[in-house]
């Protein structure tokens, strides 16, 4: 299989992930607990190591601000549902947001009666329209801003620093969805980012079962998911201690061990090398696709703002037909459809095409994978 669906899940993982998962499941896949029996302490140490590596990755000191969750979706639900809303809360999101952001916010907006504002889009550049956004902010002061760092549809790198600097002038709570970026791009948490949500199984190269958020804010977050925490059991509230306040239920030490191993691997490779490898592949992919007459790419005009994910539509095939052909006839794995991002398709003109074919690159892809894709698409040109 030529795997080009890394925006869904990176695959394969580095061998260290497979090895550690197999080891941990056989030796210490028990309920973590400091001051408990040895295997439980070992599980606890693994979780703590992973927390420290995550803190280091985003350049914060206090690892207890790293909250683990079973997925970035659950983490985003925890963050969004933990905030305070009213009918007059001004929420801004980018048009590239995933349903992990849109659906929880939509549910909250129905409950509290606020409106979700979409940051304007520039159809010429296929980027966010920063100046229009600034004007919107003047008219309707932002309270909460959510931006996905890298679009899982077009690969646009959003100017999060600029956006969050601007919104912070109004004292916003800023939430960065780093599901598609953390591990591929360096992120140093500044005070402009209140909450950063991450997915382990994407660019952090862990297995499924671990995501989370970094709590980098003075804003109080209400616990959303509650349950057992292994300590302070007589307290009917979640214990008021980080990170346990937001980590109900047994930790998935196997998944967290896979993250611990993959973070170590990421450090040894160097995120800048991962980025540059993907950048080269992205440019090569664009160059090759540009030569195909039936293909229309949906990517930012400025190549500097584009990485790893590329959507296209085909003159003769629907995205579903084309991905089926690529799978059946060429054993090439791509995704078709809307990719769980509801707003962007109206803007890039792919709502009526039932979405796009999406190619998304991982560190383990090589030029030969792109050559295979291009060769298949060339066959379909005639």
């Amino acid at each position: 299989m030529i795997y080009l669906d890394n925006a869904s899940t990176t695959f394969p993982k580095p061998d260290v992930v497979y090895d550690v998962v197999d080891k941990v499941q056989r030796t210490c896949a028990v309920n973590a607990g400091r001051g408990s029996y040895k295997a439980a302490q070992e599980a606890s140490n693994i979780i703590n190591d992973a927390r420290k590596r995550m803190a280091k990755l985003v350049n914060i000191q206090d690892e207890n601000r790293v909250i683990f969750a079973p997925s970035s979706t659950i983490a985003m639900n925890q963050v969004l549902n933990g905030l305070n809303f009213s009918q007059t809360t001004n929420v801004y999101i980018s048009p590239f947001e995933h349903n992990a952001v849109v659906r929880p916010l939509y549910k909250l907006s129905q409950e509290y009666g606020f409106k979700i504002n979409i940051i304007p889009f520039n159809a010429d550049t296929q980027e966010l329209d920063f100046n229009s956004m600034k004007n919107c902010f003047v008219v309707q002061h932002p309270d909460i801003v959510v931006v996905t760092h890298v679009s899982n549809v077009t690969g646009l790198i959003a100017p999060v620093d600029k956006i969050f600097t601007e919104s912070k002038k109004y004292g916003t709570v800023n939430i960065l969805d780093a599901s598609q970026s953390l591990g591929m791009m360096p992120i140093s948490l500044s005070s402009k980012i209140d909450f950063l949500v991450f997915a382990g199984h994407k660019n952090l190269y862990s297995n499924f079962g671990v995501g989370g958020f970094i709590y980098n804010s003075k804003v109080e977050l209400k616990p959303f998911i509650t349950g057992g925490t292994g300590a302070d059991s007589l307290n009917p509230h979640m214990p008021d201690v980080m990170p346990v306040k937001y980590e109900a239920a047994s930790h998935n030490v196997i998944a967290i061990a896979s993250l611990n191993a993959s973070l170590d691997w990421l450090e040894s490779i160097g995120i800048e090398n991962i980025f540059s490898h993907k950048k080269q592949l992205t440019e090569y992919l664009i160059e090759k696709l540009s030569a195909l007459k039936s293909i229309k790419m949906h990517i930012p005009a400025d190549k500097e703002k584009h990485i790893a994910v590329l959507s296209f539509t085909h003159k003769h095939y629907s995205s579903k037909e084309l991905s089926d052909i690529l799978n059946s006839n060429f054993d090439i794995a791509v995704r078709c459809g809307y990719h769980c991002a509801p707003y962007v398709h109206k803007l890039i003109g792919t709502e009526e095409t039932n979405g796009t074919v999406r190619v998304s690159l991982g560190y383990f892809n090589e030029k030969s994978d792109i050559d295979a894709l291009i060769s298949a698409l060339e066959e379909l040109e005639s």
Copy 2:
């Protein structure tokens, strides 16, 4: 290590679990999707197989009523937060409930102003007081009843059929927390159980990362966690289709594959054989512990209502001290403390002892494990 902490997590797992996890992580740990590329279809087939096995296990026809979640805690949060409450809702829970039940309910009770009623306890028998409960029901008609099938502190098997039959006379929503029972005891879902919550990593012998609930009710459950579902992406609501309505985010196909394998293994062993093996061990454990003067057991008077989990306190050591000694000097893994069950300790007299030492048995335990524990405790008698 002599592992006697199976109520936290069963350990070890059957070899088929380890083997399938290692295979799946290396071959098809991608985002599941029917009608997608082969590895994604394979992942999808595994999930569907596991769903069918779960449906068969609880004797229901429609596997789409099996909702997978990352843990039983999250599943319980989904069920409880999905129900409708008001200030006058009469909620009854057993005094054996875990914080996965108590804390979400407590949070909801603060939000809506209802009171949580505890089903009366009989201190002589260490059981629920069924007749008092009936009287409570007459005075305050129950609306929602939550009962844990097997106590994770005392091993009491609750008379759920009797309780739920009685409560259904008032048209209740009945929720069974089967975290400690499903896989060890046969459960055939009757119409008296609206929602059954299960934990994969306990008596179902899967790895961490999968739990869920069985939706066996006509009651409408509001989605609590929302997000991407891989299909129907332009819909700002969760799609109104089972089970996807309650399954936001990428499926953890590795954990679900481990459940699929362990359910197959469970069927080959036979749940009745697992129960009888544990029953024998439980009786042997009680017999041996009875001979020790410093030990006070906290178990139901009727041995027929007791299985697999046993709590005790010690005349000379706190539960923390004793579990530390068992770990350090004898490499025996037990739990100490309150075991995330806040109400039961007041009733069994272990609140002021800072909880109990808990021994919990798994299928892979043998008499020799109990002999080792008893031998260690005998040394500490003198």
